[in-house]
Amino acid sequence: MPKLKTEEIQVNFGPQHPSMHGVLYLKVTLDGEVITAADPVIGYLHRSMEKIFENRTYAQCIAIIDRADYMSAYFNEMAFVSAVEKLMEVDVPLRAEYLRVILMELNRIQNHALLYGTLGMDLGAVTPVFYGQREREKIFDLFELAAGYRMHPNYFRVGGVKEDVPEEFLTGTAKFCDNFAGWLEEYNTLLTGNEIFRVRTRGVGKIDPTWAINAGITGPLLRASGFKWDLRKNDPYSIYDQFDFEVPVGTQGDAFDAFWIRMAEMEQSLRIVKQALSKLPDGPIKAKVPLNVRPPKGEAYARIESPRGESAVYIVSDGSNKPYRVKVRAPSFLHIGCLPDMLRGQLVADAIALVGVVDIVMGEVDR
């Protein structure tokens, strides 16, 4: 009797597909519903950002790097600015550092709220995305008060921030902090505690910590695998050593853990924002650095903990007012590199959940 063989189908997920995050194009080979191979094709959003930097002054670069990870622009700015500051050995005034931390942590909340919504959407729940969006709007309003822009703020400067925040920003942030715990509760009732959601994410796409480290997985995904590592705690930059917060760690390394860590991180970010607000010192908001900076010849590498993982900027300076070479280490870029291994053997539906939980922003991947 001839062996009955089911036919393998190659399906293209993206670049135009309702559930793909941005313009990611996944070539997936399916055996029935099981993925046998996946090949991510990227570059649809490639804007040669790193090359453009080489022809722009440092101040101009900040405006452009906002567009790298467009969901968490403050982190891009922070990585870039702190690399330049390392190069120039500038001491940033304390008030500026505090403002940076407040904005970055608000940005983290905003980013995770989006992930909460889109992951729900990926799993077929249509409502969470609206709840996530509701809080993001409030955070964007705060950003607008601080920087004047909602998504691409261009707010951090080498040696400080652009200008001091208005009083409404501080009161607005305080009010947001008071309300957010309740909203987080809503999030958890709607999705985290849902039986179907748990069944869909528990045990899906398990990540082993040793493999994850070798594959360059960082951030919430690495913590989900059970490896407790947060740059803010373990290699503190800025003033993160002055805050009291916890690093949530997963136990099983599956999609649910990765999702849960995002929820827990929102809580911790909220704690940091509250502490920073209460401790916010007075003083200058910018060190004595000209806008058109000319860092000395040399190079610097600055890493920060962005919502997606370890975000880093490597700058080579030739002493002029334009960087000689800028390399952006984008966590999503490397996570996409891990996707083929993570997706092999998963079901199609799980693959969508996994891509959702990995939290990819194509602006950062393609730069």
């Binding site: 077929g124 249509v126 409502t127 179907i196």
Partner: protein, 332 residues
């Protein structure tokens, strides 16, 4: 009456049933949009008519005005045929639904059996649509949809066998009439009517779960899992053909709501001076609301979990339900 008049009567009744069906589907669609919008902290349609009440009509006009595309690689004949195979059975179902004691096109002695017989034809249309589109998303969606529907038809039918055993009839009118006697009586007042929800609570649970899965509503909307398969088996469909699929699906969801009222919640029976028709629609729309509510809150179950649930949990449980019902009937 001569035969011509009889045929005329039947045609008239059929057209009436179709009209009632379509009007209710339009209400269903509008309600779905509004209720979901409310649950998602937004307004939903507001522009067309007062509070967007004319939105479904605008939608239909929009769909009709769209270009009717047949993909070049599609199997033309089957591609065109599939929406009709989905739509026609969906509306044949209305013929046996008793809206009130006299408002029924045909009270067939095998009413329930007829309904489920017609429902089995729907997955064929899903498969044809998926295959003939010559698109991978459609193919996968079609395979999923058909597999899901045929696996849930068995528990669906088995879950209401308990009721049929208690009634001794397949006729929907008989089933409602069997529920119009009181179950618990205090003097002349009926405290609890003999609705089958009280006699067959588990049967109802199984029925509703299986019915949701059979009509592909959330959380079982696998064939149209838009996050995976774009739009499932009707990805390649546009214009009037898409509208037919769309209407067919909503019609099926409406039918299962109406059926749960008829089989488990006493159909048109109610109390007070309010006519039975009102009671019937009131109860039906409670279930419609429930279905919409589920859609707005729940994520989607995975296809293998769905199959497991159908074959390994629901089917054995419904069979147990039948056996227990049988024993109770003998024991009484």
């Amino acid at each position: 009456m001569d035969s011509g008049a009889i045929i005329g009567m039947i045609t008239l009744k059929g057209v009436l049933a179709l009209a009632i069906g379509i009007v209710n589907i339009v209400i269903f669609i509008y309600m779905e949009r509004k209720v979901i919008a409310d649950m998602q902290v937004r307004f939903g349609p507001m522009r067309v008519g007062p509070h967007g009440t004319l939105q479904p009509i605008a939608d239909v006009i929009k769909l009709l005005a769209k270009e009717d595309i047949v993909p070049a690689a599609a199997d033309r004949l089957l591609f065109i045929l599939a929406p009709f195979i989905a739509f026609v059975p969906a509306f044949m179902l209305y013929l046996t639904i008793p809206i009130s004691e006299n408002l029924v096109v045909a009270d067939l002695p095998l009413g329930i059996f007829y309904l489920f017989g017609i429902l089995t034809v729907v997955p064929v249309s899903v498969l044809i649509a998926g295959w003939s589109s010559h698109s991978k998303y459609a193919l996968l969606g079609g395979l999923r949809g058909a597999a899901q529907q045929i696996s849930y038809e068995i528990p669906l039918l088995a879950s209401i066998l308990g009721v049929i055993m208690l009634t001794g009839s397949f006729s929907l009118v008989d089933i409602v009439k069997a529920q119009q006697v009181p179950l618990i009586k205090l003097g002349a007042f009926t405290i609890l009517p003999r609705w089958f929800i009280f006699l067959q609570p588990f049967g109802f649970l199984f029925y509703f779960t299986a019915a949701l899965a059979d009509t592909q509503r959330t959380p079982f909307d696998m064939p149209e899992a838009e996050s995976e398969l774009v739009q499932g088996y009707n990805t390649e469909y546009s214009s009037i053909k898409f509208a037919l699929f769309f209407l067919g699906e909503y019609s099926n969801a409406l039918i299962i709501s109406a059926l749960s009222v008829i089989i488990f919640f006493g159909g048109w029976s109610g109390f007070g001076p309010i006519p039975g028709v009102v009671w019937f629609f009131l109860k039906t729309y409670v279930f419609v609301y429930f279905i919409i509510w589920l859609r707005s809150t729940l994520p989607r179950i995975r296809i293998d979990q769905l199959m497991d649930m159908g074959w390994k949990i629901l089917l054995p449980l419904t069979l147990v339900n039948i056996i227990v019902t049988g024993f109770l009937m003998i024991g009484r």
